[in-house]
Amino acid sequence: MLGQIARFTNKLIADHSAHPREIAFAAQDDIIVADGNPELARLAGELLSRLSCLGMAVARPALPFADFLVARTPRDESHIVPRDTETRTFLHDIPFLRRGALGDDPAAKIARLLGNRKGIIVEGTGIVASGALTVEQAYINWSSIFHSAFVKYLQDVLHGGFLLPGEAEAFDAFRRGWLRPLTAEGLVFREGPLTDPGEILDEIAAVGRYTVERGLVDSFFGNISCKSGGVIYISQTAASLDALDGCIDPVPTDNSSTFGITASSELLAHRRIYEQSGASTILHGHPKFAVVMSMECAERNCTVTDCWKDCDRVRFLGDTPVVAGEIGAGGLAKRVPPVIAGPRKAVVYGHGVFTVGERGFGDAFRSMVEVENWCRDAYFRALEGKLAKG
């Protein structure tokens, strides 16, 4: 258990999502163990003792966006509703507790709310997330809420500007200090075509690590594949992109076997992309600015309300097409393949980016970096324009 706690503490530090000194995890088997920031570890342990789950993550995000979201929300509301796909599908919404509502026994209040949900925001404390079965699950839920809060805050600021004291300064610090340049420089990719199964597995694992290490995606989000002959080698469902060794399924393209049942939920999308694009590799991630910008639509008087699934238009972020569609067996697998064949890249509304490579993963990776950098620039241009107008 302690090994698991150390592993996921290090992941939160490595991806800069949490304050290094304000992270704690707890886990329980027949006893409870907790580690990390003493105050937060005590809280994590107390929460675990009140709930039927194995893991607990309590950490203050490195960015104050979650607290800002709570403060910006009207006093009579108790949750925020990010519009991105991950929230809609897995979290639905994110409940929060205001600082003043914690009372004399914060653990009791937090446990009561957390008993309903995978994770919550506690103003002034951070994100608190449980894992029913594993410490990793608590980490995933924490990371999901961090991602969703990030996306929502950027959207809210773009539309509503800064409303609170200190927001503008904190945002500036985020832009100048937290954000890292996104680049593929220095990475080594195997030249394709990739044909040796062992080599393919190694390359997929390496490229998966690159996407996380370079800050292109959070570790839990995304999937990756390579087609060679009649086999699609694809990352498994619920696999972290930076830990893909042993988590890649070789799936026959003719569906003659079903052991790929554990493959990513986007297997169908990958298969159709290969069929229509003739590509050799596919990279799919959820880079944050692309997710934010994919939901910005200039259309006026549009009658579509559930844009994320019902919009049938192809919009563009620069030269990258944007389409709507639910994940898995939803519409994404129908709408992405037709638009990706030409530009070799596509964005899914509120969800993420698909890119393809012709022989290896180098071009797919660089393409994803370009899309995210374009969206990052576009976001700040739009924000500056918004702020300049007042």
Binding site: S52, V251, T258, I261, S265
Partner: protein, 585 residues
């Protein structure tokens, strides 16, 4: 007296039937009992409180059919019921859930449960409608197969019936739903047969009220979105497309296919009966439980139900049979005769190893018929693998826990499964904690299948969760995508009573501990929480870079003790508090 102000979701009504006295009447179910046990398994287990010591064949043992608060609503996969009594096969408290139209029709008759006691002097059918219940003599149906019985009675409603196996007291006889679903394992069909109850027919059509339709609809959409996001459910290689035989290839790849009575863990010919093979050879079409969006069952274009994963694997690999046609025939025969396919195949396998030769494909149909009719070799086989192996002087060859034959996941390939087989209150069952979900299928998150670390806690939590699921009653396959979070919302929206995932797990824990208490009172303890020796002494079939060593006996024992501590039990797996039940609602 039934309250005039009802909580939505429940009917707050139980139909009590005394077959000895030939009378039936409706009683109110106290609301706090429903809130505390939900329905289905939980309610049935609670109703057994004063009867759990009875011999399963005692006339007074209750046979309980219990639906849940979500039944009759559009909640996905919730048109199910649970049957509860004490098992003649295992001696444990026993429940089994099944889908089909029957549960919905029973709820539509204004009932949360039917409790049948007594024994009829002649074969009867119980016919339930919203207006009442009728005990109908059906001597002409005694001896008839399940399809014949269903056909004879279907004009009066949806049918749950036993076949010849139940009539003859085969210890693993099923109760079969008219649409082909089975109340399987544990021999509940034999309990029904001992009551001379050939069938129960339900014909209700009342709607189940929903307290907050808008909230319900949001929760339902959340569930459906999660189903679509799950590769296991709606993925192109998932169970909606191929049914549970989608697992055949996966288990082969993971090298954990019980083969030749668990002597090996790879069966080279398993591809003959994989999901794609069944689709190809039988032109399989989607089928499934009433109102279920997943439709994981598969049938021929003529409507003949095709076998599920456990059945193909056990009539295949476990007996060394490579013929899909033979497996399909075995499945059909079991359905017609009212036999449980897992226990039937596993009993044949243990018997085969004991006599030095597994049955051939040609021999199986005759053996199944003999078993159901209890003639020839069938007289012995009807007792299940545990008693068969004991009587043949080879008790170690029964691959069972608490007398319940293990299903098609070799415990040497998944250590959580190894532990869960043993802690299960109904014996060697994969569905109590269902660790295959995370150890193999990576849902909701993956765990290391070759590690015991954390598994005691994981199993306890999963047992509690699934006890709640079995009490809603929802299908466990829903939880390859959705979670208790969404189902708690559905429940709260339906009933108007606040529930959370945490409160549902607490209810599940109450149910699990109550079951364990019943079992311990009846003499069960740590000695029964044990895998067959083979799994500690013999390796599985290693290869392709995957080692399948024997289960580490020491680590297993340590984890079992952890489980006991988590459950608040003694080191012998029993209760310190003899008054445990008095402290439960």
């Amino acid at each position: 007296m039934v309250s005039s102000v009802k909580t939505l979701g429940w009917t707050e009504t139980v139909l009590r039937v005394d077959l000895s006295a030939r009378k039936s009447w409706r009683d109110a179910i106290p609301r706090d009992l429903l809130h505390a046990y939900l329905g289905g398994r939980g309610l049935g287990v609670r109703f057994m409180r004063d009867h759990f010591r009875l011999n399963p064949f005692d006339a007074e043992i209750p046979l309980i059919f219990s639906v849940g608060p979500l039944c009759g609503t559009p909640a996905p996969t919730a048109a199910r019921l649970t049957v509860v009594t004490r098992s003649p096969l295992t001696g444990t408290i026993y429940d089994c859930s099944a889908g089909g139209r029957f549960a919905w029709r029973l709820k539509g008759a204004g009932l949360d449960a039917v409790v049948v006691t007594g024994r009829s002097a002649v074969p009867v059918a119980l016919v339930i409608s919203p207006d009442g219940a009728e005990i109908v003599e059906v001597p002409q149906l005694w001896g008839r197969t399940v399809p014949d019985t269903v056909s004879a009675l279907s004009g009066r409603g949806s049918v749950a019936a036993i076949g010849p196996a139940g009539e003859k007291g085969v210890l693993f006889a099923n109760i079969m739903m008219g649409e082909g679903n089975s109340v399987g394992r544990g021999g509940l069909g034999a309990v029904m047969g001992a009551k001379n109850l050939k069938a129960v027919v339900a014909s209700g059509d009342r709607q189940t009220g929903i307290a907050d339709p808008q909230r319900f609809d949001v929760a339902r959409q959340d569930v459906m979105r999660l189903f679509r996001a799950s590769p296991i459910i709606f993925g192109e290689l998932g169970i909606s497309e191929y049914g549970t035989p989608a697992l055949v290839d996966l288990m082969r790849q993971r090298r954990m296919v019980p083969t030749e009575n668990f002597r090996r863990t790879v069966f080279e010919a398993s591809g003959n009966y994989s999901g794609p093979a069944i689709r190809r050879d039988y032109n399989a079409r989607k089928d499934g439980c009433y109102g279920c969006p997943i439709q994981c069952k598969k049938s021929t274009p003529e409507g003949e139900p095709l076998p599920e994963y456990e059945t193909v694997s056990h009539f295949g690999a476990l007996n060394g049979i490579a013929s899909l046609a033979s497996i399909v025939r075995s499945n059909t025969l079991c359905n017609e005769l009212g036999l449980d396919t897992i226990s039937a195949a596993a009993t044949l396998s243990a018997w085969g190893e004991a006599r030095g030769r597994f049955p051939t494909a040609d021999e199986v149909p005759g053996l199944l018929r003999d078993t159901a009719m209890r003639v020839g070799e069938g007289e012995l086989l009807a007792l299940g693998s545990c008693r068969v192996a004991e009587r043949l002087g080879r008790p170690e060859l029964s691959m069972s826990v608490k007398g319940l034959e293990l299903p098609a996941y070799d415990p040497r390939g998944a250590y959580g499964m190894a532990l869960a087989y043993c802690t299960s209150n109904r014996g060697g069952c994969h569905l109590r904690a269902y660790p295959i979900s995370h150890e193999i299928l990576r849902k909701p998150v993956p765990t290391d299948r070759f590690s015991f670390s954390g598994k005691a806690r994981i199993i306890a939590i999963a047992e509690d969760t699934n006890a709640a699921v079995d009490s809603l009653v929802a299908c466990k396959f829903s939880f390859f995508g959705a979670t208790l979070e969404e189902y708690a919302e559905l429940l709260a929206a339906t009933t108007g009573v606040d529930y959370s995932p945490q409160s549902l797990k607490e209810i599940g824990r109450r149910i699990c501990l109550t079951e364990r208490f019943y079992n311990c009172t009846n003499g069960f303890g740590m000695k029964d929480d044990l895998l067959p020796e083979r799994f500690f002494a013999e390796p599985g079939s290693s290869g392709e870079g995957i080692e399948i060593p024997p289960v580490d006996r020491t680590r297993f024992a340590e984890e079992l003790q952890k489980y006991y501590r988590i459950r608040g039990l003694t080191t012998e797996g029993t209760f310190d508090d003899p008054d445990f039940l008095l402290n439960q609602p």
